[in-house]
Each structure stands twice: as C-alpha cells, then as structure tokens.
Symmetry: C2
Subunit: 329 residues, 2 copies
DNA sequence: AAGCCGCATGCACATATGTGCAATGGGAGA
DNA sequence: TCTCCCATTGCACATATGTGCATGCGGCTT
C-alpha cells in the first residue's frame, strides 16, 4: 500500500472521510444522493462517484445471509455428499462458458474477503480463473498477511493473459499483503533440476511458507476437456506429456499437480517435474478454497474432491447440479 | 414469527429463495434489475420489489467499516475520555431535533444487529428514542434469544406514542425472540407497593432475567431540558416530583431511574418508586447500548457516562462534538 | 515565473430504479 | 362449484443514479 506522502495526507484521508460519511448517509440513513450532495456541499455526481469509491474500496460491505433454515438445496447436498462448504453461484443455464467464468469469478472475489484476515499466509495458484478473480477483488485492510505463490508460471506465450506476478500483485494490493513470488517455470524439464532447486535455501524458505498456509486458493485444470485450461494452452506441455497424462488416467490438476479420478496422484511422472505443492502439503492448510466454473471441469472437480483437496467450493449452479445429479456426468 | 402453514411453505420459501437469488445476482454479480428479471422470468418491477424485500428482511446486509487507521476523530476522543465505544451518526448542524432523532434512530436500528445474537437476553427500555428505532429494525434470525422489558410503562396519556407492548413486540418480531413484558406502571405511588410487588414470584422471575442480560438498550431522559423526554410528558410525574428531582440535583434517567451530574443516584427519593433496574443490576450487562440525540441531552449523557451505565454509545454528531468540546456545554 | 499535467468537478444526457394503479389469478369460504 | 377477496403482477410514469465531456484548479517541472 502506498503510504501517505507529506501534503497528501489531508487529501487522502479527507476523501476517505467523505466517502465514509456519504456511505453512512446513503446506506444507514437512506438519504438520496441529492440530499447528501447538499450536506457535503458538492454535486450529486460527485457523491455518486464517492459512493462507487466507497464500495470499490471495501468501505462498504454488502453481504448476503441465507436464513439458516433455508440453505440452498444444492449447497446442502454438496455438504452432505462431499463434506465441503459450497457457494453456488446462480448462472442461467444458457450462459456461455465465458460468462459463467466471469460471473463465478466476480462472486468469488467478493466472497473471498470472508476468508482472508490479518496474520494469515495465503497461497494462491494462477490460471484463467484466478486471473478473472483478480480483476474484481474488493480491498480489505489486513496486517501481517502474506501471499505466497503456489506454483511457478515460467513464461507465457499466449497474449491477453496476465503474468503471474501481476496477478499476485493484485491480490497483494487488495489485502495490503506482502507477496512472495515463486520465480520458477511451471514445469522443470528434468526432475533432477527441480530436486536441486528445492534444496536451495531461498526455495526452502518459500516452501516453508507454503507448508504453513492458512488459506489456499486455486482453480482446477482439466487437461482433456474440450476447452483446455490455461496451463494446457501456454505451451508448457508437449505431446508426449499429454500422452503420458492420458496413460496415467489423469483428470485434472491443482496448481500444476495432477491427479486421477479417484484422487490418487502417486506415480504420475509429470508431477516429479511440477512446481506446485505436493497434496500432502496443500492439505495442511485448514482452508482450501477452490473456484470452478463450467461443466467441462466436472471430472476434474470430482477428482479433486476425492483427493480431499477442497474445504470450500465456489461453483456455478449448472456445474453444482451436474456434480450432484449423476456420477457419470 | 409466523410459522409456515400447510400449503404456504412453498410460497414463502419460494419467495425467499427468489429474493436470495436476485440478491446474489444484483449485489454479487452486478447484474441490472432488467437482466435479473429476464433470468427469473418476471418483470423488472417485481425484481425491484423483491430486492427491497431482501434488504428489509435482512437477507442482504450492508455494513460500513471505517479503516482501522482512520477512526472518526470524535469516536476516538470519546473512547479516550469516556472509555465508551461510540458510533457517531452524521447529521447536519441545522437539522431539527426531530430530524436528528429520526436519523439517529434509523442508524441505530441498523447498527443494532451487530450486538444482537442467538442465546442472548436483551433488556429494552422504552421512550421516544426506542419507539423511533422500533420502526426501522432490520430483522435478524436468532434462536433462543429473549427480550425483556426494563421498566414499567403504565398507561400513556399522549397520543401517537406506541404502547410499550407494541414496541417490545416489534423488537421481538425483528429478532424472532420471545418477549417478556413487565406489566407495571412506570412509577408506583407508594414505595411499599413496589417492594411488595418485587417479592412476587412472577416479578422475581423477570428481575432475574434482567440481572442476566447480555445486552441492555436504552435512551436517556432529561427532565429539565427544554424539550422534555417522553416520560416527562406522559403525566407520570407530578409537580411535587419535579421539585424533588430538582432539589436532588437530578440531570437525567435511564429506564426511569434517576441520577445526578456526578453519576450518583443514592438518596433520590423517586427511585424508590421507579420500576427500572437499579444501576448495580444494569451494570451487570456486559454490553449497554445507549442511543442519544440532541444537545438537550448532553447533561443527561454526561451523568450517565459518569455513572458508568454505558459501554456503547450511538449519538448524533452535534451532540458528540458538544460532549467533547466543553465541559460546561 | 511560466507552462504543463493530471485530477477532481459539475453539467447534461443516458440509464436504471421506484411506485401508483388497474388488471389478473389463485385460494378460502359459502 | 361459485364468488369474493386479497395478494401479486406489469405497465407507465416519476425519480434517482451513472457517466462522457469540457472546464478549471493545484501542484510540479522547467
């Protein structure tokens, strides 16, 4: 976060003070913006902008509580079948996968604030889901919170996708948190290089952070879906790798670590070269938030659930329904 | 709370479900009402009404967080000088006392939800401030919460003022709580009658509840202000009573129990006939929320603070400023 | 001291939201 | 089964809110 500079202090806190006051008048006292403008001796349009600012900067928080006696049927069933707390994001069935992703990411960004707090270590993966989320984060002030990158990103070839560092920075900015980058490629070419790297003290420091995560946040990869995930388009994997994955019965990945439909991940060769945290490490985090959208990811989701990687799931309605309805969807 | 009747269940929970979904779409996904109407196959105006319902029924909660490093100057100073957590309600200086009361009550009603929770006993006084609040309560579902009337109300002579029972019922409805009425006059004529009554088992049960309150909620009376409080207009007190109060140096009351500027209340004769809880009982409640508006109540507020009756104060800005600025305001 | 830059402001217009009213339809009771 | 009642709906209009644009004010650089 940018510290106030001399001479700027007044302006910055003045704006926040105004925003706070306008928010009180608008949300607590139900005054019209016109009336507020009058009270604050400014124009109505300035108040409109001030209130937008108040919302966007987390001064105003809007939350939705479903009555305890009326949980969403889907969320209830997911809890019963999979022992996972679900947030089902309503999305019309006819929505495109792009819409779906955007809407889930938007909701997820706003829900995320509930999980993040001071004095926490938060692990974050990268991918198209996380990128979409990063665009909509609502800031929340925290102290002593640290964000740690879960897996290497290497270089990207495709355009229009943010570098992982930019993505992490957005999360860091939103929570006033320090960011620990993980500057390695997504996959090493040689398992031995990875092992050597893992012995480096700077790497160990980061791995240590990962093992002490309070919250892990990730999307899911699904290598064989019709619309392959981010990782599978970036040129990280070669044809031979795909064939190996296919042979190993892989259905998905979390932070570039692969698993099968039954949740197992032993003996998957590619994992020896991957940079994401071993599932045994990941599972140490008491809260593991997974954001998923699109039915293409159902197989991947089932696998991740079977592997016990998820404690909190944010998912679009159609996918949630498909998850519950049939085991062979 | 009205229980669902057969055949009504579907309708009621259907409406709540719709409201919940609409709220998600509106507040989490930023869809326009038009778009939501389309998704839910209804008209835009129905969505507008549905969202109003969602807000009014507490499904949607809007809260305002002031950044920890920027507390309101006034709130900060009140905390330092009086060891009380203040919520300062912004109100323009030129507002009338009626406006002031309305706006403070509206804000207070919305803040109240933060203090109320399941398994609590909540004591509530009555008066114009509480009446105004009762009109704006935002429902919040609780279990096993009990509301107990702090002081008797007797009969009222003036019109346009709700009977205490109606007032209490509104609080009870808002929190789904059971209400314990206290069917006695505000003041007994004879102290002996009061003592006798206090020995009754039904009374003792209620007094016992009062002594176990988790939250007490009250306004302040100020007998000698230009605009006298509710109690002083209702015909509860006679001229001789006023003169006695004046002689005793009384500056205010909480739930019809009087105190002096220094917070003392010993030897005030009228208190022997009053039905409100003794301050020693009141102070057992870990949270004691006081709602005050209007500079006329400053002397009364100072006294209540001196008596240590308040832990949380909701007050209009002008009064807060006057409280801080000069000791002889 | 002058000039430049960037940001905040208010206006006017474009959208979005709130609400009185008449019409509709489902359900309780006769 | 019929009728009446009341709650809910959508329309059309009234308000309220959002936003592109031109303007002007400070602050910083040259």
């Amino acid at each position: 976060m940018i510290e106030n500079e001399p001479g700027e202090t007044e302006t910055v806190s003045g704006k926040t003070r105004d925003a706070l006051r306008a928010a009180h008048l608008y949300y607590m006292q139900d005054l019209t913006m016109d009336a507020i403008a009058h009270e604050l001796h400014t124009s109505r349009s300035s108040i409109s902008r001030l209130l937008s600012h108040a919302r966007a900067s987390g001064l105003v928080e809007i939350s939705i509580h479903s009555p305890l006696d009326l949980p969403s049927r889907l969320e209830q069933e997911i809890l019963e079948h999979h022992e996972v707390h679900a947030h089902v994001v309503p999305v019309p069935d006819h929505a495109s996968d792009v819409d779906r992703l955007d809407r889930v990411a938007l909701s997820a960004a706003r829900i995320l604030g509930q999980y993040v707090d001071s004095n926490q270590t938060i692990g974050i993966a990268w991918g198209s889901t996380m990128t979409a989320m990063s665009r909509h984060l609502v800031p929340k002030a925290t102290h002593n919170t640290e964000i740690v990158q879960l897996n290497g990103a290497g270089n990207l070839r495709t355009t229009g996708i943010l570098y992982a560092s930019e993505l992490l920075r957005r999360f860091g900015d939103a929570f006033g948190a320090h960011v620990q980058q993980f500057p390695v490629p997504a996959f090493f070419d040689d398992p031995e290089t990875r092992r050597a790297f893992w012995r480096e003290r700077s790497t160990r420091r980061l791995l240590d952070l990962q093992s002490r995560m309070d919250v892990a946040l990730f999307g899911l990869g699904s290598p064989f879906a019709e619309v392959p995930s981010h990782v599978y388009q970036g040129g990280y994997l070669e044809r031979a790798d795909y064939e190996a994955l296919s042979r190993d019965g892989v259905v998905g990945d979390v932070a570039t670590v692969f698993y099968r439909a039954d949740g197992s991940s032993d003996g998957i060769a590619l994992n020896e070269r991957a940079t994401g945290p071993d599932f045994s490490v990941l599972r140490r985090a008491p809260r593991r938030v997974c954001v998923v959208s699109g039915r293409a990811k159902i197989a991947s989701l089932r696998g991740a659930l079977a592997a016990g990687l998820i404690t909190d799931l944010i998912v679009d309605e159609g996918t949630a329904r498909a998850l519950i309805e049939s085991r062979d969807g």
